[in-house]
């Protein structure tokens, strides 16, 4: 999908949301205003659309009200830039007087929005930004932040353990060269090496790389498998080019490497590839089946985790509002109430740890081509092959020890087995 067609699509599909945004703000006491910050233009605009669709779908199920309070969603385009995200957040706070901010995609947006929430004493629900430190070492700076998505390293700790259990001894990691990539690779490396595996090489193509020609030939031949962490346009290109180069090593992929919004445009070369995340559209639960069918009928595509996490965020907000019978409790009580919730979400059971990060299942998923949920065509699905139940952001590590080590980065954990 090219940028041009996206730019045409997004306005059409979001017409409703944006029309709402331009309507003059009214200040009815029982109105709950949610300011959504999502990329509606730029290379990850598709993600923004999934986010808003997920949220809107939940809202329609509750007829636009949470426990009697009328919900007004105002979507602003962050253009996936931190500066713009801040400007738009300020617009939502100053002009629309929203009760909470929700969204952002990139870690940079999360880091940009969190201080805004602190300064303005407004709730910020990080439904997508996965930067580890938002709910780890930096959490004390952000008293009004709660995360409903995941930390970058959360699923990859589990994946590292899984890869080790498969008997892989040596793995080459190739990940997008920015904080999200560093933290994902770091989490995988930590768990994998603590179990006895070895990361023998780390390759860092820049974010948005489309031609992996210079990187693929450098992959060490004695590796048992390859860990990939791809984002955006890299997702589709890497497996295609790797298999095209004749390398048949198994791939274990990070959370975003085989996300549902990429699967429809991927070829059969990805069948059998593994990835890990807290959600799969192929999750075999009645709740998820109903969610996927309804979402697909409505928006014409299979929901991605971006859809699910915002759907679930809306569900969590609704649960808090039920507790207050539709009255806005104030920022701090709201965050506290949400952090105490335990809900049955589409992704499975969701609870929060004491650092306001979700504790949820991590699914190890395998790409398979099959018919699912009664759809009559063979399609690629992320079949769940193993579930790690109730995984927190610290995996099996002691929280205090974990927080003492630096945040995962390009150089941490150090690559002890790279020559």
């Amino acid at each position: 999908m090219t940028c041009v067609s996206l730019r045409r699509l997004v306005p059409l599909l979001l017409g409703g949301g944006v029309a709402l945004a331009s309507a003059p703000a009214s200040y009815a006491a029982e109105e709950l205003r949610i300011g959504v910050i999502a990329p509606m233009t730029g290379i990850i605009a598709q993600v923004g659309k999934d986010m808003v669709d997920g949220l809107n779908m939940y809202l329609e199920e509750t007829n636009g009200t949470f426990a009697g309070a009328k919900v007004k969603v105002i979507v602003e385009d962050s253009q996936a830039k931190p500066d713009t995200a801040v400007t738009k957040a300020k617009k939502l706070l100053l002009q629309d007087k929203v009760h909470m901010l929700l969204g952002g995609v990139l870690a940079t947006e999360g880091y940009a929005l969190a201080p805004v929430s602190t300064n303005d004493k407004t709730v910020y629900i990080a439904s997508v930004p996965a930067a580890d430190d938002l709910t780890q070492r930096d959490l004390p700076n952000y008293p009004y932040l709660i995360r409903t998505g995941w930390t970058s390293s959360q699923p990859h700790h589990a994946l590292g353990q899984w890869a080790c259990d498969q008997g892989y001894k040596k793995i080459v990691a190739i990940g997008a060269d920015y904080a999200f990539g560093h933290e994902s690779v770091g989490g995988f490396q930590k768990a994998f090496e603590d179990c006895g595996g070895r990361i023998i090489q780390k390759i860092w193509p820049p974010f948005g790389t489309k031609d992996f020609g210079p990187y693929i030939p450098t992959i060490k031949a004695d590796a048992d498998a390859i860990f990939t962490l791809m984002v955006g346009p890299m997702v589709v290109q890497f497996p295609k080019q790797l298999r095209g180069a004749g390398i048949t090593k198994p791939i274990v992929g990070g959370g975003t490497s085989y996300d549902e919004f990429a699967l429809p445009v991927m070829g059969d070369e990805v069948i059998g590839d593994i990835s890990a995340l807290q959600y799969s559209a192929a999750l075999a639960t009645p709740k998820n089946e109903a969610f996927v069918k309804k979402y697909r009928a409505k928006y014409g595509k299979v929901p991605s985790y971006f859809s699910e996490t915002n759907y679930t965020s809306a569900q969590l907000i609704n649960e808090v509002m039920k507790g207050t019978k539709g009255d806005w409790p104030g920022a701090e009580p709201f965050v506290k109430a949400m952090a105490a919730l335990k809900i049955d979400a589409v992704r499975g059971p969701v609870a929060f740890d004491d650092m306001r990060n979700p504790v949820h299942n991590i699914y190890i998923k395998k790409v398979e081509k099959k018919k699912l949920f009664g759809y009559d065509k063979d399609e690629l699905w992320n079949t769940v092959i193993k579930t790690y139940p109730n995984v927190g952001q610290f995996w099996t590590y002691d929280k205090a020890t974990f927080l003492k080590q630096p945040v995962y980065s390009r150089d941490f954990p150090p690559c002890k087995f790279c020559q």
């Binding site: 997004v10 945004a21 100053l94 940079t108 880091y111 201080p115 980065s409």
Partner: protein, 331 residues
């Protein structure tokens, strides 16, 4: 000379109007105006090069970047620049921008035209690369958050106060740059823009003049960066990336190169469309695109060129009338 005085009067009135009207508008507009003014200083620095010296720089964001990173690093690591020492940071920011330009200038000034464009682009990308990769200093891709704005008698956390501070910096920059371009040195720059060879033959060291202009532009870029860091509250590689340089260049062209005040008009229009219109309609990008295209097609001298064009057209029709009259008289 008289028309020049009218122009100055006009700009002063317009600035006064901005200073009076903007703080009384909606607080989001105030925020955008602050941003546009902080960025406009960078655009004016581009204009010194593009409009007066004839050098199109595609790396100007680098100077904004070093100023902004300097401010952010001093503030977050050393708690420096959050009181009266803010003024020191301003000085350091200007000096650092100028110093970087002095280094880059050695490499870039030798080239002209497209080659100058390419070299400044490459140098700008070097700074971006540093910002992106030097994690321990710049926070890499995540950037640096500034937790608080300076407080010295006045509290810059107040948006209105901060607006006036940025406005003050902008007005002073405008005045300084205006004095500069009207000075003999500024005239020599215009001479270089028009015909460098002739200036050389006249005995001017054109390399040195261009080099100095480049350094001055870098200094103002640094100043813009210091203000930008406090305006946005976050400094990230996004501030140093190529598109930021391109934005600055486009704003200068849009407003009218070689006019200085055109820069703030360009900045206001682009910020207005990109940040404000985008909150109202989803098709703002088409409007922005159309504005650029129409300006290039119909107003190569930018929006500031409109009065001049009207005058020319009037003069043209007037002289035509004159000719007609003459013709009718002679026949």
């Amino acid at each position: 000379m008289k028309s020049q005085k009218i122009k100055i009067l006009f700009v002063v009135v317009a600035l006064a109007a901005i200073a009076i009207i903007v703080p009384n508008t909606n607080s989001f507009v105030l925020l955008l105006a602050t941003r546009a003014l902080a960025f406009a200083i960078l655009v004016m620095s581009v204009d010194i090069l593009l409009g007066y010296t004839g050098l199109a720089s595609l790396g100007q964001a680098a100077y904004l970047g070093v100023g902004a990173y300097l401010t952010a690093i001093l503030a977050t690591r050393y708690q420096f620049g959050l009181g009266y020492d803010f003024w020191l940071v301003v000085v350091f920011g200007i000096l650092l921008g100028a110093a970087l330009a002095a280094v880059f200038g050695l490499l870039a000034i030798r080239a002209t035209g497209v080659y100058f464009l390419m070299i400044t682009l490459a140098l700008g990308q070097c700074v971006w690369g540093l910002a992106y990769r030097w994690n321990s200093l710049t926070g890499g891709d995540n950037g640096i958050n500034l937790r608080a704005r300076p407080k010295f008698g006045i509290d810059l956390a107040n948006e209105v106060t901060f607006f006036y501070v940025v406005f003050g910096f902008f007005a002073v920059s405008l005045l300084l740059l205006y004095t500069l371009v009207r000075s003999p040195f500024g005239r020599s720059l215009t001479g270089i823009r028009e015909r460098e060879l002739r200036m050389k033959i006249l005995g001017y060291n054109t390399w040195l003049h261009k080099y100095l202009a480049f350094i001055i532009a870098g200094g103002f870029g640094g100043l813009s960066g210091v203000l930008w860091a406090h305006t946005a509250g976050i400094v990230s590689p996004e501030n140093v990336v190529l598109t930021t340089s391109v934005d600055a260049l486009l704003m200068a062209v849009l407003g009218g190169a070689g006019t200085l005040v055109g820069g703030v008009i360009g900045a206001a229009i682009v910020f207005g469309l990109r940040e404000y219109l985008s909150t109202l309609v989803p098709w703002w990008q088409y409007v922005l695109g159309a504005v650029y295209v129409l300006t290039i097609f119909y107003l190569p001298t930018g929006l500031m060129g409109i009065p001049e064009r009207i005058r020319q057209r009037r003069a043209a029709t007037a002289s035509k009338d004159q000719e007609k009259k003459l013709a009718s008289v002679t026949t």
